[in-house]
C-alpha cells in the first residue's frame, strides 16, 4: 500500500541517494545534500506555518512504498514566483496585414512574461521506483487534495511545467535555438546553475525581452515547442485527467508545455467529497478505487483504497488498516475522490 505524506527530516539521506539516479534535465528535484536539506527545511516550515495568503511556502511530499522506502516525490509551491517573478514564454499570435497587397497573416511569437507568478505551481514529481507506477496518480494528485483541504494556502489557479524534449544526451533543440544564444552554455549546465528555477533575476538579465518570432527558429526547435519529454508523459496524462490543459505557455528553457487549470476545473476540488471515516469490513461488491486523504492540514496522509461508496451517505467505511495508515480516529473527516 502506497501512502503519500509530507517529507520529514529523516528522509534526507534516502532522497540524496535517489536524486543521483534520476535523469538530469527532466526533473526539478534538488540534487545535492545541501539543496535537499534546504528543500526539506523549507517544507517543514511551510507545513507548520499558518499563512493568511499563499506566499513563499513550498510543500514537499514523498510516497512511501509497502516496505516504507521512498517510491516517489512531488511538490507544490504556494506561489510560483515566491519572492521573485516566475517567467514563462507566452505563445502569442501577432497579426500582420497589408491591405494594398491584400495579404494578411498571423505570425506566432513567444514573449517572455510573468503571467504565472501568482499561480500555485506543481513541481518535483518524480517516481523513483518504476514498479510504483500504480501509485503515480496518487503521488501527483495528493498535492491537489492537500490544496483542497487547505485552499487558503494556495492560489485558485495552478500550473505544472512539463519537461520538454531533449535527446539522449540531454541536448534540447529549443534551448540550442534560444537559451544558448544568451547563456552561452549547454542546457544541462544552465539547468544546474539555475537549479531548475524560473523565478531568478538572471532570467530577466539574460533572456530576450522582445518577442521571439517562431518562424525564425530552426525546424527542430519549432517541432519541440510545446512537446513533452518521454519521461514526462506519465505526469502529463495524470494531470490531464485531473483537469489540467496545455494552452499558450511554454517553458523558457526547453519549450515544454505549461499545463494550467483553475481549481474549479480540477477533480480534486470539484469532484471530491468530505465524509466521516469509520472502520469496518465494507461490502466490496462493486468496489471502485478511491483516493482518500485526511482532511487535516497537519500530518497529512493520502492513499488509494478499493471500496464502495454509498452516494447519499456522509460516511465511508474503511478497513482498520487503512485508518491506521491515515492515522485517523473513527468519525474523523476524510476527503474522497474517485481515482
Amino acid at each position: 500500500m502506497y501512502v503519500v505524506r509530507p517529507v520529514e527530516a529523516r528522509d534526507v539521506p534516502l532522497l540524496e541517494a535517489l536524486a543521483t539516479a534520476s535523469t538530469p534535465g527532466v526533473h526539478t528535484l534538488p540534487r545535492t545534500r545541501k539543496t535537499i536539506e534546504r528543500a526539506v527545511e523549507r517544507s517543514l516550515a511551510s507545513f507548520s506555518a499558518a499563512p493568511e495568503m499563499p506566499s513563499e511556502e513550498a510543500y514537499f511530499f514523498v510516497m512511501e512504498g509497502p516496505d516504507e522506502t521512498i517510491a516517489g516525490t512531488a511538490a507544490i509551491s504556494a506561489t510560483a514566483g515566491a519572492t521573485g517573478t516566475f517567467f514563462a514564454f507566452r505563445h502569442d499570435v501577432l497579426s500582420q496585414v497589408s491591405r494594398d497587397l491584400n495579404i494578411s497573416h498571423h505570425v506566432d511569437a513567444l514573449s517572455l512574461c510573468s503571467d504565472l507568478t501568482s499561480y500555485s505551481q506543481l513541481s518535483g514529481f518524480h517516481l523513483c521506483d518504476r514498479r510504483a507506477v500504480g501509485g503515480a496518480a496518487l503521488l501527483s494528485r495528493a498535492r491537489l487534495l492537500f490544496a483542497a483541504v487547505a485552499p487558503q494556502r494556495f492560489s485558485d489557479k495552478f500550473f505544472a511545467s512539463m519537461s520538454g524534449m531533449t535527446d539522449t544526451n540531454g541536448r534540447s533543440p529549443f534551448w540550442e535555438a534560444l537559451g544558448r544564444k544568451f547563456f552561452g552554455m549547454d542546457f544541462l549546465e544552465a539547468e544546474r546553475m539555475i537549479e531548475g528555477a524560473r523565478n531568478r533575476t538572471l532570467i530577466v538579465e539574460l533572456m530576450p525581452h522582445y518577442p521571439v518570432y517562431v518562424p525564425l527558429l530552426p525546424n527542430e526547435a519549432q517541432a519541440a515547442l510545446g512537446q513533452v519529454h518521454a519521461e514526462a508523459e506519465l505526469p502529463f496524462r495524470i494531470l490531464s485527467a485531473e483537469g489540467f490543459e496545455p494552452d499558450k505557455y511554454v517553458d523558457i528553457f526547453d519549450g515544454g508545455p505549461v499545463l494550467r487549470a483553475h481549481r474549479n476545473a480540477l477533480r480534486s476540488f470539484s469532484a471530491s467529497t468530505l465524509r466521516r471515516a469509520y472502520a469496518g469490513d465494507a461490502d466490496n461488491a462493486g468496489a471502485e478505487t478511491w483516493m482518500i486523504a485526511t482532511a487535516r492540514e497537519e500530518n497529512f496522509r493520502a492513499l488509494l483504497v478499493q471500496c464502495r461508496i454509498v452516494e447519499l451517505s456522509g460516511e465511508i467505511i474503511l478497513p482498520q488498516a487503512v485508518l491506521r495508515k491515515l492515522e485517523l480516529s473513527e468519525g474523523e473527516f476524510v476527503l474522497c475522490v474517485k481515482s
Binding site: D100, H105, E205, L206, Y213, L217
Partner: protein, 344 residues
C-alpha cells in the same frame, strides 16, 4: 568629349534608350516612357527651382558631345520617405549580462526603422557599357558631390546611398531566405518586383516589427548583413572615398548596406575650391580634376587633368566649350581622387 550636365526636356529619347540597357534591379530607371517623362519634368523643375527643395530630384546625364548621344545618368533625390515610408533595418547592440553567472554577451540586434526619412539619396547611376573606361564612372558618380558642394544649403544634413546586397551565384539572397521569406510567402525575385513597383512600404508592413537578435538567423545570413553584391563593390569604394560610410543601416530584403555621410563631412564639401578660369594652350602637367560650373540650371561638369593653384585654373578652349564658359568665369574644382584614405 564627355560632359555631365543637368538633364533637359529634350533628353527623353536618349534617356529611354539608356534605360533599355539597364536590365532588372534598378527600380528608378525602367524603360517606361511615361515614367521617365514625368521624372524629367520633375528634374527640370528641380534645376529651375520652381518646386520646393524637399521635392527635388536632380538628374544628371553624361553627354558624348561628339556623337550627340547620352552615355550615362545619375541622380540625387533631395529627400526620401516623405510620400511613402522609407524602411530599413538598423543594426544596434544590446548587452545581456549577469554578474551572478559571469556572463556578458553583446548581441547584435535589428530594428525596423524609418530613421533615414528626409535624407537626400544618391540613386539611378547607370553608365552605358560602351563608355565604361577611364574616369567616366568616377565622373558620373562624383559629379553629384560637387553639385552638393556647390549648393549645400539645398540639402538636408544627411546623404545616403543604398547599395545592392549580397546574392548567391544563383541570384538568391541568404538574408531574404532566412528572414523575409518567413513573413511574406513569396520568393526574393517576386518581392524584388513588388518593390520596383514602389510597393516597399507594404512589404515592410509584413516584416517583424519587434527588435530581432541577429543570433536567431543562420550563420550564412548573419555573414551577409551589410555586405554588397560583388558587382557593387567598386561603386561602394568610390562613395567611401568621398566620405560616405556604413553605419549599420541595411536593406530590409537583402541586408545590403546603406552608405551615409553628413553633408558637411563630404570630401567635396571640405576640399573643393573655387577657381577662376585662365586660357591655356598646349599640354600642362596636372592631376585628374573635376571641374564644374557654378550655375544650377546650366550645371556642367567634366573630368580633366589640370593644375588649380591659388584660385586659378587653366583650361583649354575645348574644355571651356564643354563647360559653356570662358576665361575669367568661376568654376568649382576638386581632385578626382582623394590624396589618401585617412587612416583606413
Amino acid at each position: 568629349m564627355l560632359v555631365v550636365r543637368a538633364i533637359r526636356e529634350g533628353d527623353l529619347e536618349g534617356l529611354l534608350e539608356l534605360a533599355t540597357q539597364v536590365g532588372p534591379g534598378m527600380t528608378t530607371l525602367k524603360p517606361d516612357r511615361a515614367a521617365l517623362g514625368r521624372r524629367i519634368e520633375i528634374a527640370c523643375a528641380s534645376f529651375a527651382e520652381t518646386i520646393a527643395p524637399a521635392q527635388r530630384d536632380y538628374v544628371f546625364v553624361m553627354e558624348d558631345t561628339a556623337r550627340n548621344r547620352l552615355a550615362g545618368v545619375s541622380a540625387i533625390k533631395s529627400a526620401v520617405g516623405l510620400d511613402e515610408p522609407f524602411y530599413n533595418y538598423r543594426l544596434g547592440t544590446l548587452v545581456h549580462s549577469s554578474n551572478e553567472l559571469k556572463i556578458f554577451s553583446r548581441m547584435d540586434t535589428l530594428y525596423l526603422s524609418n530613421d533615414l526619412t528626409g535624407c537626400a539619396e544618391l540613386c539611378s547611376l547607370f553608365l552605358h557599357p560602351d563608355y565604361r573606361t577611364g574616369s567616366n564612372g568616377k565622373l558620373l558618380s562624383k559629379c553629384r558631390f560637387l553639385f552638393i558642394a556647390q549648393f549645400p544649403h539645398l540639402f538636408p544634413e544627411k546623404l545616403i546611398a543604398e547599395m545592392r546586397g549580397f546574392q548567391r551565384s544563383d541570384g538568391t539572397s541568404p538574408f531574404w531566405d532566412s528572414l523575409g521569406r518567413h513573413f511574406f510567402k513569396m520568393d526574393f525575385s517576386r518581392a524584388d518586383d513588388l518593390t520596383s513597383l514602389g510597393q516597399k512600404s507594404f512589404i515592410a508592413e509584413l516584416m517583424p516589427r519587434h527588435p530581432l537578435y541577429v543570433a536567431y538567423l543562420p550563420q550564412e545570413a548573419q555573414d551577409v548583413i551589410g555586405r554588397v553584391h560583388v558587382d557593387t563593390a567598386p561603386a561602394r569604394h568610390l562613395l567611401e572615398q568621398e566620405g560616405m560610410h556604413y553605419e549599420g543601416y541595411v536593406d530590409i530584403f537583402d541586408a545590403g548596406p546603406v552608405l551615409q555621410a553628413r553633408v558637411i563631412e563630404l570630401r567635396a564639401v571640405r576640399e573643393s575650391e573655387m577657381a577662376t578660369v585662365d586660357d591655356l594652350s598646349g599640354d600642362v602637367a596636372g592631376v585628374p580634376c573635376l571641374v564644374a560650373t557654378n550655375s544650377m540650371q546650366q550645371f556642367r561638369i567634366i573630368a580633366t587633368d589640370a593644375f588649380p593653384e591659388q584660385g586659378r585654373i587653366g583650361l583649354d578652349d575645348s574644355h571651356q566649350a564643354l563647360l559653356g564658359i570662358h576665361a575669367g568665369d568661376p568654376v568649382r574644382t576638386m581632385a578626382l581622387n582623394p590624396k589618401k584614405i585617412l587612416h583606413a
